[in-house]
Assembly symmetry: C2
């Protein structure tokens, strides 16, 4: 189909929603993508670019002529334009910005000046702001005549002459008020503002907590500079949860469209760290070579103790990491949670130790071996509960992301303690000293 | 403070947002919670109950007199009332429903009749629906006079006499249209409807994909029965991501306020499964007791191979589980992803094998041992890439949740193959047959 029939193509894909158009782009061969955009001409909605993977977006933007991109970006809401621009090379971005008309360039530059992943980057700079002495009727008339209103909006902002925010009037409130009501009498002054420099994750939590649909963004001087809307926040929430899941597994910021080498490189660092910590655990086993030589059954059984501790530690750690991410863990309950996790380790440790002890004792027809492994398991499960909470809490205290590094530390601890407790106890019990 | 000074209490907490009030409730001792609600009387906003953990909510509802609860629920939006009612004992719920006036009872009963976690359960049953021949002006006047309008809304729904949905008019569109414009001429007829029986997760994906703020919910006959709003969807998205994270770690549906025994019971099943699979891995080691007796170094090194495979497998699995959850994996790209993961295993396997082989060879001053462990690692990393993708894909094919069970299977495979490849290869290489 991609051999030039622009007419037919337009009728086929012209009506697609941006999300579907984005999916179509991703499904196409890389070489066909620029062709699709150029054939569609001004019928191509650049919003679709916010819906595709970063690698697809960058590849496409590079192969498009600059003026097609400039035209496309002019049509966009400012937050979508920033989303597309922020990942480009500084040089290309500059070239595009220079070709945009001054007001748009100024707005985009200001958004881009805020650090990555802040509210300022995600905000929409078109919004409706009116003075407090206007009436509901006048505001509605103003909206009817407004030319460059944002694509969609849910609130009207009431500001003073210095652009300070006085309050908001949700549209349903505006519609339900009599025409002659002055905005100052109907506005909601208990507004949840977001500072432009605030982290987007923090803003997401605010939206979630207070069930917001949009929130005003203010600069250091308290002036209204933009609006955050919930559709961007939904993406932020999803992205942050996704980052947490991947970080817990030691997977970096990778996308499904990444190549083998990009993927391998992204995952290598944590595997290397794991290799080094595995050497550490192995060296603990090395301490007991003599014991193992005399009783090979120990080598057969020791991975069980380590693996159980690793699993229990991961459970406690995951719960702690999530509670930290959702700001549910504070001074108020941190002691209770640590105590709970240690006790959970004890409870499950004791019940599983009975199963494991009986199994191992029967297998090797050696009751003592069953007692030793059961005791080692209880010790390791207690340690797993303790370090499963302490490790992420400590990493969080250091202002680092507990999701990223906790896993390796926790399993290292449970491996080392698991091997040490089991082999050490066996050495002592069976008198192999 | 909780010794009865209602006046003072009201002035202190009367103005709190429901989310903050919920947090206050959770922070209080269980015994003080009903007191707070009764002292606040009609100033207590029952919406706060939707913001607390399930155990807190149930405990509180049980200790409140039924008529306080009934009064409180009457004030709520229908979706919040359903949220509170759905977790109660059937008997108590019936008692409360019977005391509610008929129209509210009917609406709540209908919502509760839909299965759990569907759009019908989450929807709000108050909405604004008008006929297509009304003008924008008449609609605005109707909204001004409406008494029982929903608390907030973002769209007006246009319906035919049979309650079939014809289209939606977003409020900003309504405001920007001339008063005399007929709704049928301004409505958006490309509406993303949600079936009442649809899974809430599916609805969440729709909201995210098309950046929706609200969506109409229709019954089997295509009649408009309610509205889903984005604030509920944000909670759904968060909850689903949270479930995935916890499921991957083998943690059930637990909350921070759960007791030690609730938590331990929830985590026990997967630990028990892990214990059984660990016995399986141990029995593989048992096959090679003779080899280990002759060369204890093997016992020291073998956990390294298993642990590296487990990590690499978890990485591949996590990426696959997430891609499945976000519907990014389909027939179109599944072969590419499997191939990619196997190749990533190969690439990282080869580079890490060199480090591991050199390290092990030097440690035990045995070059052959280095070659054997390096080869075993490459094999296990390939297997990890393959099974890290195949296991979740197969579980997904069986219409089960891949996040729940994948972890155990993948690490079992990497443990078994890791031990078998390393010990088997060593047995053959060193001629211990």
């Amino acid at each position: 189909i991609r051999t030039g029939d622009a007419e037919r193509l337009r009728s086929l894909v012209g009506d697609l929603h941006e999300a579907d158009l984005g999916e179509l782009l991703e499904a196409l061969d890389a070489d066909d993508r620029p062709g699709l955009v150029e054939l569609l001409g001004d019928q191509f909605d650049f919003t679709a670019l916010t819906e595709v993977d970063e690698s697809v977006r960058l590849q496409l933007l590079e192969s498009l002529p600059t003026d097609v991109t400039v035209e496309g970006l002019r049509e966009l809401d400012s937050d979508d334009a920033v989303y597309i621009l922020e990942d480009m090379e500084a040089e290309d971005r500059q070239e595009i910005l220079e070709r945009l008309p001054l007001p748009e360039r100024a707005a985009l530059t200001r958004s881009l000046d805020f650090p990555e992943e802040t509210a300022g980057r995600r905000m929409q700079t078109d919004f409706v702001a009116v003075p407090p002495f206007w009436t509901a009727g006048r505001t509605i008339d103003y909206l009817r005549e407004m030319k460059d209103a944002p694509e969609t909006f849910y609130e009207v902002y009431v500001i003073d002459p210095a652009f300070k925010l006085l309050g908001t009037v949700p549209l349903d409130m505006l519609l339900r008020s009599p025409r002659e009501a002055r905005l100052e009498s109907i506005l909601k002054d208990e507004v949840r503002e977001v500072a432009a420099t605030e982290d987007q994750e923090e803003a997401g939590r605010l939206f979630q907590r207070y069930n917001l649909v949009s929130a005003p963004v203010t600069d250091e001087a308290g002036r209204l500079v933009g609006v955050l809307t919930v559709d961007d926040i939904v993406d932020v929430i999803h992205q942050e949860a996704d980052e947490d899941i991947k970080a817990l597994a030691g997977v970096g910021d990778e996308e499904l469209s990444d190549t083998v080498f990009q993927t391998a490189r992204g995952r290598f660092p944590w595997l290397l760290v794991n290799l080094l910590t595995a050497f550490l655990a192995a060296s603990v086993i090395g301490l007991f070579e003599g014991t193992i030589e005399q009783m090979v059954a120990l080598a057969v059984l020791m991975p069980i103790v380590a693996s159980m501790g690793g699993n229990a530690g991961t459970q406690a750690m995951t719960v702690t990491v999530r509670a930290l991410a959702m700001r549910e863990l504070g001074r108020r309950n941190v002691r209770r949670i640590i105590a709970r996790e240690v006790l959970v380790g004890l409870v499950n440790g004791v019940s599983l130790a009975m199963v494991l002890g009986a199994g191992a004792g029967l297998w090797f027809r050696n009751l003592d071996l069953g007692v030793v492994i059961a005791t080692a398991l209880i010790v390791n499960m207690l340690v797993a509960g303790l370090f499963g909470t302490l490790v992420p809490l400590s990493i969080n205290k250091l202002k680092l992301d507990p999701a990223v590094a906790s896993g390796v530390f926790v399993t290292t601890v449970t491996d080392v303690i698991g091997f040490f407790a089991f082999l050490g106890l066996a050495t002592w019990w069976f008198g192999f000293l």
